[in-house]
Amino acid sequence: MKIYNHLLMTMGAALMLVSCGQQNQNSTGALSSSAAEKVYVAPGEQDEFYAFLSGGYSGNLTVYGLPSGRMFKEIPVFSQFPTSGYGYSEETKPMLNTSHGFVPWDDAHHPDISQTNGELDGRWIFINGNNTPRIARINLSTFETEEIIEVPNSAGNHSSSFITENTEYVVAGTRFSVPIPQRDMPINEYKSNFKGSLSFISVDPEHGHMDLKFQLLMPGFNYDLSHPGRGKSHGWFFFTTYNTEEAHTLQEVNASQNDKDFIAAVNWKKIEEYVNNGGGTKMPANYAHNLYDEGTHTATTTMNKEVLTVDPLKVPGAVYFLPTPKSPHGCDVDPTGQYIIGNGKLSADLTVHSFDKMIAAIEGEKFDGEAYGIPILKFEDVLAGQVKSGGLGPLHTEFDGNGNAYTTFFISSEVVKWKLGTWEVIDRKPTYYSVGHLMIPGGNSRKPFGKYVVAMNKITKDRYLPTGPEMEHSAQIYDISGDKMELIYDFPTHGEPHYAAGIPAEILAPKSQKIYRLDENEHPYAVKTPTDAKVVRDGNEVHIYMSTIRSHFTPDNIEGVKVGDKVYFHITNHEQDFDVPHGFAMIGQNTSELLVMPGQTKTSLWEPKQVGVWPFYCTDFCSALHQEMQGYVRVSPANSDVELKWSLGE
């Protein structure tokens, strides 16, 4: 192992030397800049791009700047987030409801930014929860999660959440096939009994609201990743599959036996037409749809009881299989929509299919058999070319918009740059270590911004100061503006970023919201002026209508609360000034704090168990008098008759 490490280090050093040498060759004297200058964003300056990195098992989405690699925010999505009270406050608890009850965590994988005409429009970003299948929509002016829809008949929601080029649909495919509908049956009867669902969730063009329009019930393979067609191939969606063997145990071996699996090409426009004309079968289901209303600052859950399913055999010409070698993982479509890249993860080569050839083969009906009635096209007929890269374990490909593609190789830990059409390898650079996804802002749209590529790695080892057995993952930024890629920065990331999405700052920054308007606050427990602050008892429930402004709570003295009460603090932040949140925390509370943004109302539940006078305080250092921003609640015995009263400054 030591020798191996030495070898690696020597190789690394050698590569660095090579890269230095190349840099000097390309040098244009004083105009050439060092890596440090390229990533240095001076104090007070701002980054050129936003990068949204999925948090993986953190369940959240993190926001970074490029090229600085600075983290700006963690947006809570699928996980409870005590920092803001997301998933703890009464308003946001419904966001995490599912048909399995309250699920406070998920595994967030693939963010995708909304598009118009195949270009990033920056209205929303979508991300999938892999474990308990869900799709979330995040508003990119508030950077808050607004909607989460559960995906029924799915398991391992992995070939998700990719959007079509006008954000008509956000698409979610299942990685694990399951019995549909779910039922009690022997596991070893998987083959030909389990099904894989591909869900097309429509997105309302104005509000972004999601609705599960239809579910395509496919053979029981594993649908791994997907991407939409664009430009000429708009209207199609492509999914990689593995385990076409339909193994139900030791998939590691049993799902790796076929030389080729498939890329499933789905003509969703055709299926949409079929469904719009009354096609499909309604199936009983049970799935949660959680919607956050910015006016009431409150989320509600609706349980949907039905899903429209489509048997692909009922829609002729809607689905075809493209044979693709070696358990393909990433499924990427170039900016023109012509090339569909299957990254055969157990192979050294990349397989590139041609959309034009696929259409010609379909029209010529040149089939190579079928799988469960779905026509299989001939490999040679759809193949555009193969990239013989010399790397091992290709996973994902992104594009720079200048005719080049960049593919990550997990096993050989590198990014390889190659040319679309000629399939020649132009450059390769090591990553540290075992790279998964990579991201070029807009790199999976019609208009990439090919200046930087971010490689997100699975293994960190010695990249940073050691922090015990568990470490954050590492990411590298490469400058790709020249012929050769140049490693310019290395930074730790939070959780386990899988995919990421980037967008120029000039699209998002100007519309980032500064405050919520108090005069538009429709929360039923909001107080619009401090004089409206009050305390109301309803049985054993006590509702405290409280307002905050620098630097006091109104009211700050409350008496008449009893042991056994359920006390709801409804806190409205009366600030209308940018970046002046107030926090709220009550001693002994069995929940998290609240962080209330200007103009917002949030509610925290406290169930006092002990008699006494108990303080609460503002947790956000809001002002010079922050330390004075506090109050007391007098808790009397359950049978006492202390009068309910509240005050400020008496």
Binding site: I515, R550, Q576, D577, F578, A624
Partner: protein, 203 residues
Amino acid sequence: MKKASLLMIIGPLFLLGLYVFPLWNIMLGAPQYPDPLGLNIHISGLQGTNEFDIQNIDGLNHYIGMQTLPKPEDMWEFGTFPIIIGIMVAIGVLIGFLGYLGKVSYKWFIGWFALMSTMGVLGMYDFNQWLVDYGTNLDPNAIMKLTNPDGTPMTYKPPLLGHVKMLNFDVTSMPASGGWLMFLGMTLTLTASFLGWKNTKKQ
């Protein structure tokens, strides 16, 4: 005299800008306010440069015991100034017309300018009186009672014109678009007076 009279007609009309644009502006910038807070002083009342600036200025000032900024109904000036400006514009234009018709001499032009200037100075004096009261008449129970190095209580009168550093704030007070329009209009009437005088001398 016709050219002078035309200028005398046009000049006062520039004062109508005061009904739309602010007369004066005070900006308050601080390290934590990279986008400064701003106060636009209109003849009919105070407005924030941005929607919530007044609320935010009041919020900050309560720490040092300053009064909240006055609403239009709190100060007689905001009711009276629009009327005075209206009357002055009407008189100025009338004088211009009469001059055009040869009924009055350039001396009336000078008279209007002198009256307007006097009222302007009185207005500035009144405004400064308010600034003094606003900046020095502090709540005795203020949260922060700060003193100057010599031990006297610190006051917070914003400058009438120019820049002052006040605690963490840079306060800049300048005429605003309505004010500049007024100055331009008054300059035109002064020019009208001058042209009228030159004209008379020629004859």
